[in-house]
């Protein structure tokens, strides 16, 4: 590993931390346009962060140390995930710390801490949110694992840098029909994991339908800022995992020069712009599902991923 690799490792983390709110702002803007509303500016999320960081924390009297530590832990899990996912270059010292399966575990750590913190203050909404979040969590994990299985069958690795290298060296791999099934399933998992429509509505004000939002009702000030930021980072990370698995073009390989790296950043931004627009369209054309219809949605994702696996075994081997 060279010094530039370490520099890029830090650079990529900073890039992810900086771009994640922008990506969330872009999705929000697209949604507003599609719904014929006047859109908030692109940098609205940064303003939100600034406002929240300046405010005092109003901490519930019952809150324990776990409640105060959770925003930092959740933020740290998402930053670590951003450091591991090769969004710009595969030449990252930390990329081998966790493969795709371990990455699922890293996200699960964040989720469990979030749910525990939601139960800490002891309000009715908090524990309701925790229960729902964990339910969505155990429904998405099998589907996500089957997606990774299909990807593993096609690429021969669950290490994300290796996946990128395999695809960029043999582009025809992407023509495997099994990957199409896996990609659709992955998008469905992404929607559910990131509290987007149709499973959860990130902009809702109706407490009884909330999942993610009801868990963070008691948070304020810098704690809330970190949690919001972590949620945006999670969406960003999921998008980047999707890019590495299903459209890795543009990602700089091991030993690429600065020109290619600049190109890789450009490609990442272009992909994010496209993905944000698609996400906004998906969210605008679907209605929120009742909570107990969400399992059907995720079972569908699971079955699609299994279908991808079977297609691979029957047709592609």
């Amino acid at each position: 590993m060279s010094a530039t690799a370490y520099a890029w490792q830090v650079g990529e983390c900073v890039l992810a931390i900086a771009l994640a709110p922008l990506f969330a702002g872009w999705v929000g803007q697209c949604r507003a346009w599609l719904q014929n509303r006047s859109a908030p500016p692109l940098w609205q999320p940064y303003r939100v962060l600034r406002k929240l960081f300046h405010k005092d924390v109003a901490l519930a009297t019952h809150a324990s140390w776990l409640f105060r530590a959770t925003p930092y832990v959740v933020f740290a899990t998402m930053v670590m995930a951003a450091a591991i996912v090769p969004s710009v270059t595969t030449d990252l010292p930390l990329a081998r710390v966790a493969d795709a399966i371990a990455l699922v575990g890293v996200f699960a750590t964040g989720r469990v801490f979030m749910s525990l913190a939601a139960m800490d203050v002891g309000t009715a909404f908090g524990s309701m949110g925790a229960r729902r979040e964990m339910m969505i969590g155990f429904l998405t994990e099998p589907a996500l694992l089957m997606v990774l299985f299909s990807a593993f069958m096609a690429f021969g690795s669950t290490a994300l840098p290796s996946v990128v290298e395999v695809v960029l060296r043999q582009p025809h791999i992407m023509l495997h029909p099994s990957l199409f099934f896996a990609a659709v399933a992955f998008v469905m998992v992404l929607l559910a994991e990131n509290a987007r429509l149709p499973v959860d509505n990130p902009t809702t004000h109706l407490e009884l339908t909330m999942i993610h939002e009801s868990m963070i009702l008691e948070y304020s000030g810098r704690h809330l800022a970190l949690i919001e930021w972590a949620a945006w980072l999670k969406l960003f990370n999921y998008a980047c995992i999707g890019f590495t698995l299903f459209m890795p073009w543009g990602i700089a390989l091991h030993g690429a020069g600065p020109g290619l790296l600049a190109l890789a950043i450009g490609a990442l931004i272009a992909k994010l712009v496209a993905a944000g627009a698609v996400l906004a369209v998906l969210e605008s054309i679907t209605a929120k599902l009742r909570l107990f219809r969400a399992p059907e949605f995720l079972t569908m994702a699971f079955l699609l991923a299994v279908l991808g696996l079977l297609v691979h075994l029957l047709l592609e081997v």
């Binding site: 933020f75 749910s115 089957m146």
Partner: protein
């Protein structure tokens, strides 16, 4: 040199086991003194356990040659044989390291006036430990069964410590019954394994050649016998009854250690004594294991008693371990040795992990029980403020059992999933499609375990106290904390240095499978398959998380501020919030009840809207009781009644029976 080292290891082990027995006997000197039995003898027992762990670790060093000895005990022509090899060394390491934590905790835990006299309990406790170690060391079927029965009986007496309560006697009876049904299976299994030679040593069994039918019969009997002890569905029914009945350190020993002894027995028979069998052995074990894992996780999610919840969670983890064993057997039958080694390593590491975190959680429930007098989740809450140490250590255990990185539970689940990833390469047209779906069940189970642990931890330690009395809960003593801390340390260490665990498991897979999974070329992360495939580094993940948390904390303080003011909880502006509005244990399990409805046998009493004093009650039972066990027990009772006709109570009739039997035998012989 090695020969000497291993002889000393075996001799030392036997000495340590004898010391446990002496310790138990010493307790009888002053049977009613807590100070003597608990505070003095139990810490010594913990030191002995550490010694056992160390001696077990010696057997796991490189180039260790298996060492055997014949003891001058047993029947005249049937002496006891003992043997120390990598497999037994690993399980002794497990027994010793988790047992040390439990003994230290128990030293602070036992109080006077709780059922059996402390001295008696100390005897049973150390007899239990010693018999488990002897099962692991046994090298002939005779000694194995003697130690196995001692283990079952000593643990039975520990379960019924509070024998004055009828439900505890009932739970103990069920446990004893299932233990003996299982022991019968094991006995028959050994009977088949000797293969007509009538030699009961394991050496003879290894050399015996069995017809395929008899090998399969032995395998199925072993799966039945050891499965009954380990708690495989549908033989699991005793677990959720016996674990809550026993005192917490005993529950921890049974769940953390004794179930692992059953896993050891299964491994010994299926990998060491039996040779490679047909693929359906593996598929059967895998199927039963995965079913058990799912079943345990689903039932754990709806429990309202904290120890019952943990008992079902043990069933789940045993299921995962057997799934790993089954996958390894399946791969062995196709001669995929490396993959078999990977699956077996996952099962072994999970056994070790489960011994650590399940003991930790059972002990934590013991502290909670002593501090509050409550076992029902619906009456706990908010204990993180009153018992900060127990809460922090239980958090580590809960996160570890939920399979979250960078703790130890994740390592074994990750290895198991990696093994499943390779199963599409099985050279069998249907298995290569069916078996990979097992990975989905493993991940569903792991995620459900997360659900269960959020419920367990959240309802007990977080939120507001659901009862007024909880505000007087007192923190645990330092001995209890030390025991919990030791186990939590183990959870963290295995999670941070998974490579070491993989190396250790490699010694056993080298012995049993003839292949070892390499940790990979890098010292920092393990790559069990190939250097460009899957990789995981607990240490870097841990370091990264700590670094980012610290950096974020410092930066936020540096650029903004750290101001906090306390206020009542907001709860969307609702002012009349009470602790009873938090999710109860039933409430938290409601989504699971809804999603997996047909799995449960559920009775609900819903109040009417007009009811002035509404009462909500839900009772969840298992279908197995009503569909399998109760009909079975009715059949047994009915046939017993039929047989009572023979039992007239008159001596003359009985003499007539003997006479007739003799005549019949004579006729048959002539």
């Amino acid at each position: 040199m090695n020969g000497i080292a291993s002889t000393t290891a075996l001799t030392a082990l036997l000495g340590l086991i004898a010391a446990w027995l002496v310790l138990g006997a010493l307790g009888l000197a002053r049977p009613n003194s807590i100070r003597w039995v608990a505070r003095t003898l139990f810490p010594v027992g913990a030191l002995i356990a550490l010694g056992v762990a160390g001696a077990g670790a010696v057997a796991l060093t490189e180039n260790f040659a298996a060492q055997t000895a014949v003891l001058p005990l047993g029947l005249p022509s049937l002496p006891f044989h003992v043997r120390l090899d990598a497999l037994s060394g690993f399980f002794l390491l497990l027994l010793g390291s988790a047992g040390a934590g439990i003994s230290i905790f128990a030293a602070g835990y036992f109080r006077a006036g709780e059922g059996t006299a402390p001295g008696m309990m100390g005897l049973q406790y150390h007899l239990f430990l010693a018999s488990m170690a002897l099962v692991i060391l046994a090298d002939d079927a005779y000694m194995f069964m003697v130690a196995w029965e001692t283990m079952a009986l000593s643990s039975y007496f520990l379960v019924v410590t509070q024998h004055r309560l009828p439900e505890i006697r009932r739970a103990g009876f069920l446990y004893l019954l299932m233990a003996h049904v299982g022991a019968l299976g094991i006995l028959l299994c050994f009977g088949v394994l000797q293969g007509g030679s009538w030699l009961m040593t394991f050496d003879a069994m290894r050399g015996a050649t069995l017809a395929p039918v008899w090998a399969s019969a032995a395998f199925v009997l072993a799966l039945f016998g050891f499965g009954a002890k380990a708690g495989l569905v549908p033989l699991h029914v005793w677990l959720p009854e016996a674990h809550p009945a026993a005192p917490s350190p005993v529950s921890a020993m049974m769940s953390g250690l004794m179930l692992k002894v059953a896993v050891y027995g299964m491994l010994r028979v299926s990998w060491d004594l039996l040779h490679a069998g047909p693929w359906w052995w593996g598929l059967l074990t895998l199927g039963v294991g995965l079913g058990t894992a799912m079943y345990g996780a689903i039932f754990a999610a709806v429990q309202t008693d904290m120890k019952r919840l943990l008992a079902y969670s043990s069933i789940e983890n045993i299921g995962l371990i057997f799934a790993g064993v089954g996958l390894a057997l399946l791969c062995r039958s196709f001669d995929m040795r490396l993959l078999a080694a990977l699956a077996l390593a996952a099962a072994l590491i999970h056994s070790f992990n489960h011994a650590l975190f399940k003991s930790l959680l059972f002990l934590a429930t013991g502290s909670v029980l002593h501090a509050t007098g409550e076992r029902s989740l619906g009456k706990l809450g908010g204990l993180i403020r009153y018992m900060p140490w127990v809460a922090a250590l239980a958090l580590i255990g809960s996160l570890a059992i939920a399979g979250l990185p960078p703790l130890n539970g994740f390592v074994s689940e990750w290895l198991l999933l990696q093994a499943f990833l390779q199963t599409p390469h099985i050279p069998h047209a249907f298995l290569n499609m069916i078996v990979p779906l097992g990975a989905a069940i493993v991940s569903l189970t792991a995620a459900l375990a997360g659900y269960v642990m959020v419920k367990f931890y959240g309802v007990i330690f977080l939120g507001q106290p659901r009862e007024r009395a909880l505000e007087h809960a007192h923190p645990a003593g330092w001995l209890e904390r030390a025991g919990l801390g030791w186990l939590a340390l183990g959870c963290v260490l295995v999670g941070v240095f998974p490579q070491v665990a993989l190396d250790v498991a490699g010694r056993i897979t080298g012995q049993l499978v003839g292949a070892t999974v390499q940790r990979g070329p890098s010292p920092w992360w393990m790559t069990p398959l190939a250097s460009n495939q899957a990789s995981y580094s607990g240490l870097w993940l841990w370091a990264g998380l700590v670094l980012v948390v610290a950096a974020t904390f410092v930066l936020v303080r540096r650029f903004y501020h750290g101001r906090v003011h306390r206020a009542p909880s907001w709860d969307c502006g609702y002012r009349w919030q009470t602790p009873r509005m938090q999710d109860s244990a039933e409430g938290f399990g409601q989504p699971i009840r809804h999603l997996f409805g047909p799995v449960f046998r559920m009775q609900r009493e819903l109040p009417l809207p007009s009811d002035p004093q509404p009462q909500y009650r839900v009772q969840i039972e298992e279908h197995f009781w009503h569909a399998l066990y109760l009909p079975l027990s009715r059949i047994v009772l009915r046939s017993a009644e039929r047989v009572t006709i023979l039992q007239g109570g008159r001596l003359a009739t009985y003499l007539l029976y003997s006479f007739l039997t003799l005549i019949l035998l004579l006729v048959w012989v002539l």
